[in-house]
């Protein structure tokens, strides 16, 4: 036992967790911490807004598989972290957020920069802890890292009243913490794996749906092994992208609202669906009532509460996805006498791939987003890492940017946080400085967190931002075109800012290529120079993301294109048509 200040114990606790980098913004309530960090080797990346810091920590976590750490002061510092906490938590990224708090004597008095961050994050974080004495700090920090990084990973918040940081106490630094109510058993029940294998052995039209859990469990190899054994097409959720390479013959691509025709159709015709580490969100299943009712669903998940939450299962395997896939593969290779060829079913996949190819959209002077995204892939080295913003840019990236391994593609899937991709890319770069990191952005999303350019430049974390600039909130505009009679409202962003000047104002490089060749050249140059570069690419504001399943429709209601009349502006349609379908969100 040793006596020291809470702030000192806090920094010591971080060091004991092998934290080498944290992202945050300083402020009154965390001054004692920053004064201890002054003497520490922990790198502090100063964001320009706490939301950015939280996404940086999230990106760092997703790229490295380690816990990402962010910190903010009390009050507005804390509330600015909330979007990042919710984003990381719903996508099961291991993150710990620390917030300063007013001294305990002032808690509840509506003091300056006091906010009830414990109450606010109660349903946004996996867990939260408010420290009540300096001596509790080592245990609280250890607990936060433990809970964030185990089981179904997530975001944990620790609130640190200033008196607990300033005052001293007797410190015990635990090597291990335990919670009676937090039972972790990653080992799947053998009986459950037997049942799963029996069911899968009988499947004639099997499909695997791979989610983020496959990546979190480091189970990509096991996934591909099982898929090959069964000759089962693998569809992925957005979070599962990268769990199987896009150029793998069994990969059918994204499933869901913007799923590929192959994935959506195979999912709907399957007799057995093996779900691995996915939570069957509405964006993946489309209308639940129409989600394949004939199929027997087998669900592997570390989080028992996900089983039967949205889609009813026939059998489940609770536990670590890697162990579950290994166990099922062993059993299945014994059950299957000869390795399956599944020729009919493979032909069906080929058929869907061809049949649901998205036609080229009519040409005009603008570059096509789909072409830009494909050109980006070609211009980048194979091991480049990519984040996305949210909206059209995200779906174009998900559909047309091929990735070849886990932890190479990062996106805010659950919360759909615009402005996530850029700061997340900074965190990714911090985790993997040796490879190029690109944020595939839209002008709307990038605008939400573009101030982090300062951090890129000042902290030497160079990131390439490709702004698919359509001067509009693209996905919302697409919905207004398709479901609201082309009545644009609150979507047009105009021609500001000038992204080249914006980049230059921050000391970064800005370029504005107008041809695909120039674009590719700009990407190669940015990779070669390894400097923060904003590449502003003008695209057509009317370009739609296809395939698309309108909200409230089933997985097979796939739209591949619209006729010019259907997407004509309201003048041509004679105003509001009462009979038009207004989709649910």
């Amino acid at each position: 036992m040793v006596e020291m200040s809470g702030a000192k114990a806090f920094v010591k606790s971080l060091e004991r967790e092998n934290v080498d980098i944290m992202f945050g913004v300083n402020g009154g309530a965390v001054l004692p911490i920053c004064d201890e960090l002054y003497y520490s080797d922990v790198r502090f990346v100063l964001a320009r807004h706490e939301q950015g810091a939280s996404h940086m920590a999230d990106g760092y976590a997703r790229a490295s598989g380690r816990v990402g750490v962010c910190m903010a002061t009390s009050g507005p510092g804390a509330t600015n972290l909330v979007t990042g906490i919710a984003t990381a938590n719903i996508d099961s990224a291991p993150m710990v957020a620390f917030t300063g708090q007013v001294p305990q004597s002032m808690i509840g008095s509506d003091a300056f920069q006091e906010v009830d961050i414990i109450g606010i994050t109660a349903s946004a974080a996996k867990y939260n802890i408010q420290v009540r004495s300096p001596s509790e700090i080592p245990h609280a920090v250890k607990s936060a890292f433990y809970i964030a990084s185990t089981g179904r990973q997530g975001a944990v918040l620790v609130d640190l009243p200033k008196d607990c940081l300033v005052e001293s106490g007797e410190m015990v630094f635990p090597d291990k913490v335990e919670f009676r109510g937090y039972n972790l058993n990653p080992h799947p029940n053998p009986r459950e794996m037997d049942w799963a294998a029996t069911l899968l052995a009988k499947a004639r039209r099997p499909v695997i749906l791979a989610g983020g859990g496959v990546i979190a469990a480091d189970a990509s190899e096991n996934l591909m092994q099982l898929a090959s054994l069964m000759m089962a097409p693998v569809a992925t959720t957005l979070m599962g992208k990268g769990s199987i390479p896009n150029d793998h013959p069994l990969c059918s691509g994204l499933c869901g609202m913007h799923g590929t025709g192959a994935s959506n159709m195979l999912m709907s015709e399957a007799d057995v669906i093996l779900v691995v580490g996915a939570r069957m969100s509405d964006r993946t299943t489309a209308k639940l009532d129409e989600f394949n009712r004939e199929a027997k669903v087998v669900h592997i998940d570390i989080d028992r509460s996900e089983i039967d939450k949205n889609v009813e299962t026939v059998t489940r395997v609770i536990g670590d996805a890697k162990l579950a896939l290994q166990g099922i593969t062993e059993r299945l290779s014994r059950a299957l006498q000869t390795s399956s060829k599944n020729e009919e079913w493979m032909k069906r996949m080929e058929h869907f791939r061809k049949h649901y190819e998205v036609p080229e959209q009519p040409s005009n002077p603008h570059l096509k987003a789909t072409q830009v995204v494909k050109a980006l892939r070609g211009a980048l080295p194979r091991d480049a890492l990519v984040t996305t913003e949210v909206g059209q840019n995200q779906m174009w990236a998900a559909l047309y940017f091929d990735v070849y391994g886990p932890r190479t593609f990062f996106s805010s899937g659950g919360l759909g946080t615009m402005g996530w991709g850029f700061p997340a890319a900074i965190g990714v770069k911090a985790a993997r400085p040796e490879v190029p990191v690109v944020d595939i952005a839209g002008d709307g999303s990038f605008g939400m967190t573009e101030n982090n350019l300062a951090t890129c430049v000042e902290d030497d974390l160079p990131v390439i931002v490709v702004v698919l600039n359509n001067r509009i909130l693209g996905m919302v505009a697409q919905w207004q075109r398709l479901f609201y009679g082309h009545r644009y409202k609150a979507v047009e962003l105009g021609t500001t800012p000038d992204f080249v000047k914006l980049a230059e104002a921050y000391g970064a490089v800005g370029v504005k290529p107008t041809t695909t060749t120039d674009f590719e050249e700009a990407v190669r140059q940015a990779v070669k120079d390894n400097v923060t570069t904003v590449i502003d690419v003008s695209i057509d504001p009317e370009e739609n993301v296809f395939p698309m399943v309108p909200a409230g429709m089933g997985l097979t209601d796939i739209i591949l294109e619209v006729s010019p009349e259907e997407s004509a502006p309201p003048a041509a349609q004679g105003g509001r048509d009462k009979a038009e379908i207004v989709a649910e969100d």
């Binding site: 109660a122 349903s123 408010q130 919670f179 939450k309």
Partner: protein, 164 residues
Amino acid sequence: MMTVTTIAFLVENKPGVLFNVANMFRRRGFNIDSISVGALVEPDLARMTVVVDADARILNQIVEQLSKMVDVVNVKRLDPGRTMMREMLLIKVESSDPMAREEALRHVNTYHGLILNIEAESLIAEVTGEPETIDAFIELMKPIGIMEISRTGVTALEKGRLKL
């Protein structure tokens, strides 16, 4: 099909846990019919009893979401056939009319209740029983003139050697 179910669970006896439990129900849109909390022999644990009216899918979600909470130690759906359930009612009724007072006293007696307080214009009685019994008693008292009631919510234990 909706069924009334009693769920009992042990939680860490520390600040904020009741809030977190209630917040989980609110956040997921699960309705609580009644909830009661009390300390245990072990000072670091508390026992909560929740009664919900839900279909099988929601019920399963309630149990799983509770189990998932770090500060919830143990969760159990109580078997109605093996469970003793009790709820306590305090009821204040008009008693200025002697006839009404007589009737109130008689009902309380029938339900094995206790009179806790009698004043010129009102009396307070205590009745304990299963929630349906309490409901029936309240119905009986309505014509007399109920001024105020307070119910504790259900508390329950399973018979025999079963425990949480």
